[in-house]
Symmetry: C2
């Protein structure tokens, strides 16, 4: 197993992508969210939201349920257990990496 600074190399790229990182963070807090909500919440375009969700679904990190609200399509998204686990692993890697960094110099004070 690689140690803190180096372990960053093997980080899960599906999660590391900023748009998906944000999506997973939102889903982690909400349990369930629909497409339109995620659209507003993340600021992604519809196209990008769609493809990032597909990617997360393909990885098994979210499940997507297509239903209707009345006559209007409603796409519901939920994080899966695998998604939760992968996210926690990612977070641990990131935490370890950040912790391994030299302490930041205070700006302007010497």
């Amino acid at each position: 197993m690689t140690k803190p600074p180096h372990s960053i190399i093997d980080v899960d790229r599906v999660i590391h992508e900023p748009a998906r990182l944000l999506l997973l963070t939102v889903l982690l807090l909400l349990e369930e969210a629909d497409f339109t909500y995620l659209l507003r919440e993340t600021g992604l375009t519809k196209g990008n939201l769609s493809s990032h969700l597909s990617k997360l679904e393909a990885a098994g990190y979210v499940e997507i349920e297509k239903t209707y609200k009345g006559k209007v399509p409603l796409t519901l998204c939920r994080i899966t257990e695998a998604g939760r686990t992968a996210f926690e692993q990612y977070r641990r890697t990131l935490d370890a990496f950040v912790s391994s960094l030299p302490t930041e110099k205070t700006v302007g004070e010497d």
Copy 2:
């Protein structure tokens, strides 16, 4: 300005790439390192190290000096002030993001 979870979207992609993140971390600690050292230290292939260094150089985050050690080529790499600044900015964004995450549930305890 975007707040913690969302600011991750605008993170500096040059730095966000794991291989470059590791490279910058090494250079931050060492001030100067040669190609062969970075090769061993990061575990990257020569081709990838070369192109990641070029990318960092193009961004103005490292300077690369090609010299000789006796008759053998020696490529020296140093992080620039811009690189240091960009890295600190990146670290702040990452710190804020990590801090904004809900606290991790302890595994196996209910």
